[in-house]
């Protein structure tokens, strides 16, 4: 049986477009609001990445940091985050959910407890930013046993040898980091170069769904129409911040933005 993440990619492929993945931080700016945002963008996005906010993030740029600090300041806890996901999964049009976070949050919860809770609340995949291969070998196997997709990351600095080993150990989906940057950096590499690397990965591992993330925005998203999937995160977090600053409703604004993104790649 295919897992919900693979089904989502399949569906997008049928429609001849990349899958659209969004990233928002759980609890930004409140538990209720972040849940409402998930419900609203679920109409346009194919897979939702839900960020677990952490206060010493070593790979996140300013936009996501702002969202994370806002969520932590408003008191978000790990158990609230699970609750947000399970509530979302009960909503009208839920999509697959991928948690994205830092390993300490999992480590403190206990790997087994964490995975049990993921299963119960309906989390379909995990991206652990600071648990690279081969350090993640045991944990990723544990995820697989629990039918949770452990998503390996690849970057422009990943050597060919590593690339082969990592893709071999990966599950259905892999994540290519477009450039040397924290999240939300300006795209400093040409789409052509990014796509060349993407093709290299697809050649080695044609069956795995490979998404591209970091620096993807409304402006450049249409350059990547012939890929398996695209992740937009910082631009959405930025839109939440902008809405809050202008006393507008982030739920409406973010959902408009995601709808536009979807149109641009369809």
């Amino acid at each position: 049986m295919l897992n919900p993440i693979s089904i989502a990619f399949k569906k997008a492929k049928k429609e001849k477009r990349p899958a659209l993945l969004t990233y928002t931080v759980a609890g930004d700016s409140s538990k209720k609001q972040s849940l409402n945002i998930l419900k609203a963008i679920s109409n346009y996005a194919d897979i939702l990445e839900v960020g677990i906010p952490h206060n010493t993030p070593v790979a996140d740029g300013g936009q996501i940091q702002t969202s994370a600090y806002r969520a932590i300041k408003n008191g978000i806890k790990m158990n609230d985050i699970f609750k947000i996901v399970s509530e979302f999964k009960k909503s009208k049009n839920p999509k697959p959910v991928i948690f994205m976070g830092y390993y300490n949050m999992i480590f403190q919860y206990g790997e087994n407890n964490f995975l049990n809770k993921c299963k119960k609340s309906g989390v379909n995949g995990l991206i652990v930013v600071d648990l690279p291969w081969p350090e993640n070998k045991i944990f990723s196997k544990r995820c697989k046993k629990n039918s949770i997709n452990f998503i390996q990351l690849l970057s422009p600095t990943t050597s060919n040898k590593r690339l082969k080993s990592i893709t071999k150990d990966s599950h259905d989906m892999i994540y290519y980091i477009s450039m040397l940057s924290t999240t939300g950096g300006k795209l400093k590499v040409s789409p052509k170069k990014i796509l060349a690397n993407y093709d290299k990965i697809k050649k080695i591992s044609p069956k795995k769904n490979c998404v591209i993330g970091f620096g993807i925005t409304e402006k450049n998203v249409s350059n990547f129409k012939n890929t398996d999937g695209l992740v937009v995160g910082s631009q959405i977090c930025k839109e939440i911040t902008r809405s809050l600053n202008n006393r507008q409703n982030p739920v409406i604004n973010v959902s408009k933005m995601v709808s536009k993104l979807r149109n641009k790649i369809s």
Binding site: H54, T56, P57, V58, M78, N104, D130, P132, S155, R162
Partner: protein, 414 residues
């Protein structure tokens, strides 16, 4: 968990960089795997390369000024009326603190690998100041990340960094102290690791940085061992080495050469920052039993809440104001080779007053923590016990704080 004899502690990690199977490691984003691996290959080669060691020693001798003094504090010994009190005056080193050793080694390595820019974090400003000095010396561009709160309280060092031509980049996130500076510095490296070298300012961070720093500061104990033999004919039968511990670079360097001695002969005492007496916050994860967690790429004892968010620390001393602690010290604690305790802000200030009253020595607030515990404990030791405190920083940088807390008379004119 066991400490091995005859193998440097920095080389006792396993294949994945864990000491004792659980401290350290490489919890880093995929992007940093390659630059870290490159650095590992380079370091493993260079540390056995005679020419490199020669080059290092030449700079240590002619530029940093080795050895730093090893002196008896006669008046303090009389005041304490117990053990003999000595000090290794590491603040004699060029720049005024031990951070110069690590900075120099990192710049030498960056130069060899063809990097043009070097970045670093700083708390008290010493790591930043030294990196800016070394970068200038070796013709590298330099960027220093420093918490906005620390920039305010350690102005003399900020000024020095700027005079050396470094960009000082204020970090406004989180508590605006060292922990945030290290995060920001690592983030910058993630985005620029193809052109830029990173120097982590203490024995923290991904395993390779722990090793390079420990290897560099070990100069302190190499010198001390020679000085002890010159003074006493041998390593004394009862020797106690007191050192403050923030990230843990000076203490590790102060102890490394004596690692294989029985702890009954050479005891290591690490003094963490207990923070203000009235506050619940502290920077003493080993003393107050913090849980193991991951911070800045390494597993270590770290102040955190139940969820795993890193907790804010509080200490009068910016150099010790860090929620985590080197994996090396976690290892030394759990193998019981070293003993750890804490001194409060108030105790450190009092120790500073005592030391400056009796001796012509001005330890900065960081080593003042170590002096505090050493003075307290030395009272009950026998006269043939040799207590040595590493005075690893000079109080010049703390003028502002000292003036505010103790009044003008404690701050001399330079």
């Amino acid at each position: 968990m066991k400490l091995k004899k005859g193998i440097p502690v920095i080389d006792q990690g396993d294949r994945l960089g864990f000491w004792g199977g659980k401290f350290g490691g490489n919890f880093v984003p995929e992007t940093l795997k390659k630059p870290i691996e490159d650095l590992e290959i380079q370091f493993n080669k260079l540390k056995n390369d005679k020419n490199f060691i020669k080059e290092r020693d030449r700079y240590f001798k002619n530029w940093i000024g080795t050895p730093t003094r090893f002196i008896k504090l006669n008046n303090l010994t009389k005041y304490v009326d117990g053990a003999q009190i000595w000090s290794k005056v590491v603040s004699d080193a060029n720049g005024g603190a031990h951070k110069i050793y690590n900075a120099t080694v990192h710049c030498l390595m960056a130069k060899r690998s063809g990097k043009k820019v070097i970045i670093g974090d700083t708390g008290a400003g010493y790591a930043g100041k030294m990196l800016s000095m070394a970068a200038k010396k070796f013709g590298l561009k330099c960027k220093i990340f420093m918490g906005a709160k620390d920039i305010k309280r350690q102005q003399p060092n900020v000024k020095a960094m700027k005079e050396n031509g470094a960009d000082v980049i204020p970090v406004y996130s989180g508590s605006q102290t060292l922990v945030d500076a290290v995060s920001e510095c690592m983030r910058y490296w993630v985005a620029n690791c193809d052109t830029t070298a990173m120097c982590v300012g203490s024995t923290v961070g991904p395993a390779i940085f722990v090793r390079i720093c420990g290897w560099s500061t070990s100069q302190i104990s190499r010198e001390l061992k020679v000085q002890l033999i010159n003074e006493f004919g041998d390593v004394p039968k009862k020797l106690k080495l007191y050192n403050c511990v923030g990230g843990g670079s000076s203490s590790f360097g102060f102890w490394n050469e004596f690692m294989d001695y029985d702890k009954k002969q050479v005891e290591f005492i690490g003094v963490e920052a207990g923070g203000p007496t009235k506050s619940k916050r502290h920077a003493a994860p080993l003393t107050y039993g913090s849980k193991i967690g991951i911070l800045h790429g390494a597993a270590q004892y770290v102040n955190q809440n139940r969820d795993g968010q890193i907790e804010e620390t509080e200490s009068i001393s910016a150099g010790l104001d860090y929620p985590g602690i080197s994996p090396l010290h976690c290892f030394l604690k759990d193998t019981k080779r070293a003993r750890y305790t804490a001194a409060s802000d108030e105790e450190a200030l009092k120790a500073y007053q005592i030391v400056t009253k009796y001796e012509n020595l001005r330890p900065s607030l960081e080593p003042s923590h170590a002096f505090s515990i050493a003075i307290k404990e030395a009272k009950r030791f026998s006269k043939d016990t040799i207590v040595i405190i590493n005075s690893c920083g000079d109080a010049y940088k703390d003028r502002g704080i000292l003036e505010k807390k103790l009044g003008k008379k404690y701050v001399k004119s330079n």
